[in-house]
Symmetry: D3
Subunit: 237 residues, 6 copies
């Protein structure tokens, strides 16, 4: 039995609320149960220096967590003067995942920054961030098309992400903080709209894991992302 009382293949209540920022070109508040991530897509003219003159745009991600998003207060990264290794790892992942479904030539001489700020954390913040960031990105691109800034959307497909784990010997979908703390295996799946994989990470937290376990985690991830894809399409409209 899961601490959350959910069935092994059951997602938390997920909502993807758009239009939550007055200023951002696209925005989405992704709620996976008690995990709340505010995702904004900001469109700016120009690209980073190393990309200049290539006729291509850029998509990048940044990630942060409010100090009291968690059970006990964490230190503010801005006050510490640097981002943790974990933060940097996550923001690299967000950028890489979203770029995989953007045609940067169509985007042109523009940079879209996806800011994913965790307002409240209960496990699975990076996957909620990616799922919500895709909505913010798609909304921002839709806005650019509507405003006739670009002729067609540069978004070539969907991206959603979910974390799974092995808890008390049983593979389960969408693990929350309580489950994550005692999970034996922990995995993050980032999937494309056609069910293929964009990125996956799996870690044996307490012990190595077998092919069979991993295959089951992958099956659960596909199941969960299928539901997330539906919610994303409904949110983008």
């Amino acid at each position: 039995m899961r601490p959350s009382g959910r069935a092994p293949d059951q997602l938390r209540d997920v909502t993807l609320e758009i239009g939550v920022s007055r200023y951002a070109e696209g925005s989405c508040l992704a709620r996976f149960g008690q995990t709340h991530v505010l995702c904004t897509a900001s469109v700016e003219q120009g690209v980073p220096g190393w990309l200049k003159g290539q006729g291509r745009g850029w998509v990048t991600g940044e990630y942060g967590m409010l100090p009291r998003a968690t059970h006990t207060r964490g230190r503010r990264e801005a006050a510490q003067g640097k981002q943790s290794g974990r933060t940097q790892e996550i923001q690299r992942l967000i950028g890489r995942s979203l770029r995989s479904v953007v045609d940067l030539k169509i985007l042109g001489d523009r940079t879209i920054t996806l800011d994913c700020d965790v307002i409240q954390a209960d496990g699975g913040t990076r996957t909620a961030a990616i799922t919500g960031a895709w909505v913010a990105l798609a909304r921002a691109c839709k806005y650019l098309v509507e405003e006739k800034v670009i002729k067609e959307t540069p978004v070539t497909g969907q991206v959603a992400a979910i974390s799974c784990g092995v808890f008390d010997g049983t593979p389960i979908l969408d693990i929350d903080y309580a489950e994550d703390s005692s999970a034996e295996v922990d995995a993050n799946f980032i999937l494309a709209g056609d069910g293929r994989m964009i990125e996956l990470q799996a870690t044996g937290e307490k012990r190595p894991f077998s092919d069979e376990e991993f295959a089951e985690l992958m099956r659960l991830a596909k199941l969960g992302c299928g539901q997330l894809f539906d919610k994303q399409r409904a949110a983008v409209g």
Copy 2:
């Protein structure tokens, strides 16, 4: 006529919503029109090193702004590796103001950190932060009393804050971003519950200002803070 259409002595719609954080001992989402600041009060055992062994607690503030809280995206301070002078100035102000109404001996060997994070900005973020932080602080102290951690609340009075300005020659209350941008004089007032002043700052942005102008700004601030004190008391309950 103000860009906002408000009367010179009219506040924006202000709401002080409590219980917005699942984990913090006290929390308040302060909305002053389109300015939204999430304030949490985190209670931790112990005090900073320089205060050890004096039988007194500590209250401090931190301030941050989400990168896309503003019209155009700002750079993330954690990524830049330091907090701006403006951020540091504001968080010093928050801590100083709130400490002025806390009996640190009653608080005992505890630190309360007030995190004020601007989710959306439309002018007056520092005064909204202080007004909301007081609610979060009072709620956290109420919780400590209810949990019998301390016998009585260390909060000795109320603190609320509001910004005023001279716009097109007219002193006005609670200036928003559009008004702030072209204000001639800009002032922040932090008032105690009895109407006296805890801190004030006034700047002649475009020209020096006279005693008469300043007196009118102070009158407006007292008027506005009177209304904020009522809302704070209602929120704390």
Copy 3:
């Protein structure tokens, strides 16, 4: 009775000595009793990047304190790798105050940096810095006119600053360190040559303060700045 033995409305011995730097375009050693601040005005070609191409110059301030300027040695900010919040707050104040009396169009494509370094501190360093920096600035601009670099001085008026406080219930002028340590209220006034205010900051250090107290502090500040304006004019010549 004040610890310093001065009358409530009495300044310390103030001297504004010019020509104290062999290299700077303008310089002034401002002595307010035992508080000694070395102010230099450095003129450099060009303006910060964000101001380029607008046909306007820039005036900015920097502030520092020698480690043993104070009773007990403070840590060297350069060795710590960052400037304190207090330092940044003060240098923003210096820059803002001085810019309020400079016509940046007349200054043209130049930056004037006002370095205010506290050689010895006995309270009121920020107000001594501003008062001395104005002299250094005016001297540098006079030099630019004499050298025919610019046709007329961009300095449009005077700026002087003084700190006041409420000590043992009595409002007093120009508080020194001993008085500041036990002052109930602490205020800094930055005034224009015509007696109007450019910036003011007041803090209830031990308790809130009333309108009447603040009005008396303001009266003292005007009195004190009047004397400082005379000394500034004498120094600039």
Copy 4:
């Protein structure tokens, strides 16, 4: 055909040379073709502060690259004042992987730091680092047992790692820099001695990847790690 001329399931020439550091308790120079990583295991008394008094030791990893380890010179991280996100991601991975096969209670109040410094890079530096670090770790623990510092080795199993990829449609083993640059899919596998997985990461660099492709990459990884396990055992002796 691979640029390297190797068969799809062929490792580069791999050597694991021990005793390469005069001072370290354990050391290994891992050569995977032209990728050379110097791994040292340093044993120090005590553990990080957050682990004190729990009767457990700690194993951690650090990673660096000499500026000219690569085709074009990279900037020295020490000179830049921070480690890149990539470096931090890799050193977290090294520490996590090695800890998974260490009984920290047996290690006792000691920290073993695995420094993995890339002397020359030709792709696959993180997997070579982990494979070599295990040898350095096992050698250091053997030394501790021989010196009667601890009674038995805390190393509970083997860890080896290899990168695979899909190149021109074909899954291949142990990709080098030339292959990596144009690989469609890139994956790192960290395996336990019994063939189960400790950690895996897979990224669709140019396109998403299917279950079948991933299964083939996993098969290659098991094949390659089998050979690495033999070499590790021979090196440790």
Copy 5:
């Protein structure tokens, strides 16, 4: 002919003025012509962590330069967030030199920090700093003896320093900025009171130098330091 018009073996006008700081236990304003360095000796209880419990004190140096101490304004190190390599090199030299004449056991559980701040620079700042720091140190120790904090002075001998150079083929003493800029060889000598050497550094700026040249520079340095030793003794009293 030297740009300064001095004879090859002629020092600049040197004054060592004591009592220039109201708070420091010892202080000296060292003027070598237009080079002015303010040296303070601060005595603090306790020693750095790595020296605890050894019954020995510590002497260390810090060095800084006001931004406009030089012909053109330099950037403030505190604002840049780090000390330059040059600054660190000089402060290590100051500490090392002064420690060579202090009996750290007699000093006991105390740290003396020598802050050398360059108010105005015209070449030879590091040697002026060392010469003045010795006076500040000796004065501080004298004060400790007079206050009966320690029974005898821990200062075991004198230290003075001077820079020499080869200018237009001629070895000269005490080079100033104009001479330094075009010197072929540049050397700093730190001498003990008995004429032996504590530290020396020599650099062929434009070409290598011969034994004979170096011998002549050393002769000049001894001559100059002899005069500095007299001035130091007079200053300490």
Copy 6:
């Protein structure tokens, strides 16, 4: 008797091995007994900003030490976020020394960076670094000539360096770590191919030193560098 058993004027076994880097334009592994320094010369197009448009190239040095190059593990500078004063001092020395034998006009619009990374340390790392860096530099320039990038080598002479010291009253050549730890005097000599001096540094670690002692150290240094010059020429070919 030296701890190393060497005669007072005897170098350690010195080898200068070239071609140790697959990518660098020039490389040399300098081994002075158990001190091993990997030196690479990297040629890059362009020069630092402050040198642009002057028709001259630039030569600079960087220095690092692997954390476990020493008896006990040192902290990684990249992880600490800054280079120590010692590191900066050494890399300034490397750059200065090598530039003294390069005609920067012949080098043209190019920068050569000499990375000197200490793989294993047993005293004398800075002098081994300079001696090896010269070989890497000369090899890189030879390569540029062979590739017809430049017409003639910009290297105008040889540079070698050695450390000497006074140990137990006897001046000795090429001190290792054990000797260095208890040396009374410590000196580094950087010599030009004609026997003249490019830079020298001498420090009385335990006591001041006399002219006679210094003269003997210099004699030993010339002897040692003579042998190093032979080895360098053999290595460059």
